[in-house]
């Protein structure tokens, strides 16, 4: 199969993402200093995967929100494909947040899970988007499923500010972390740690862009197959070539 310009861009994006990941791994494990024992010591390095994974999930669900609005307004399948692809990746990364968080919490808090505001709202968000993916399989008509899912994709974004600000609005066990106004406050991070953190954030963002490009390409391919199948069904069995020639002659 011939390589298109889009394929080349995808290869470059993948190369950039994996290079950034390699750099961030070095920074996380060899440049960032070990945290205090009260924060988990070596285990605190999970933070460099946990927070960027949460950021990617936020980004993915914001794209679901925008693409869902665009789909409901235009009825263009490309927007639905973008929303569906982004939701799938968002669910994956939020699942990683929900897994890595308790691994850190277990030795530090002495428990795997607390039904506090941050953890509960994150779980509710994850379940909302799992529902979004599930609902697409409930109906056989893709356009109907797309429109139904788009409504969930729009309403689902309400969860994101609740998750993000839950640590400020309610008393929670979860660390509050830095704020946009003061990125160093509450974090205990110095220059090496911030460098590792932002490198990891950039690497995860590039990885997300690459995964999203591949997933939307897959969606386009699925649409083409559906179109071809539909054409084959509506056209019915073809007439023999000889008969066709005869028709043309007459």
């Amino acid at each position: 199969m011939e390589m298109t310009g889009r394929d080349r861009k995808l290869i470059w994006l993948g190369a950039a993402a994996w290079t950034a990941i390699a750099i961030s791994v070095v920074l996380i494990f060899f440049v960032a200093r070990t945290a205090q024992a009260t924060m988990g010591g070596q285990l605190q390095r999970i933070f460099y995967l946990h927070v960027p994974a949460a950021w990617v999930a936020y980004l993915a669900f914001a794209i679901v929100f925008l693409a869902s609005i665009a789909y409901l307004r235009t009825n263009d399948r490309r927007w639905d494909n973008l929303a569906h692809s982004s939701a799938e990746i968002g669910v994956l990364f939020l699942a990683l947040v929900l897994i890595t968080g308790p691994i850190w919490a277990h030795p530090v808090w002495g428990t795997w899970w607390q039904w506090d505001a941050r953890l509960t709202s994150t779980l509710v968000t994850w379940l909302t988007y799992v529902g979004y993916l599930f609902i697409r399989n409930l109906t056989v008509e893709p356009r109907r499923a797309g429109r139904l899912a788009a409504v969930i994709g729009i309403v689902g974004l309400v969860n994101i500010p609740i998750v993000h600000f839950s640590v400020y609005w309610w008393r929670t066990l979860h660390p509050s972390g830095p704020t946009p106004a003061n990125p160093v406050a509450n974090s205990g991070l110095g220059a090496p740690e911030l460098t590792a953190f932002f490198a990891s954030l950039a690497a995860f963002t590039l990885l997300f862009a690459w995964l999203l490009s591949m997933r939307t390409r897959l969606g386009r391919l699925a649409d083409r197959v559906d179109d071809l199948e539909l054409q084959a069904v509506t056209r019915g069995p073809r007439q023999p070539a000889a008969h066709r020639r005869e028709v043309v002659v007459t």
């Binding site: 988990g40 010591g41 070596q42 285990l43 390095r45 999970i46 995967l49 994974a53 990746i89 994956l92 699942a95 990683l96 897994i99 890595t100 691994i103 850190w104 277990h106 030795p107 990885l207 995964l211 591949m214 997933r215 390409r217 897959l218 391919l221 699925a222 083409r224 197959v225 071809l228 199948e229 084959a232 069995p237 073809r238």
Partner: protein, 46 residues
Amino acid sequence: MSNLAWLFVAVMIVWIAIGAYLVSLSFRQRKLEARMAEISSSEDTA
């Protein structure tokens, strides 16, 4: 289990999950390409 061992587990889970997702994308793509080839060949032979 030590903190370092838990860190290793967490890192492995992250990269195995992302790797598994990539494999699933590749699997789904191959399946669609095979279906497309099947439709094209059945149209050619008809």
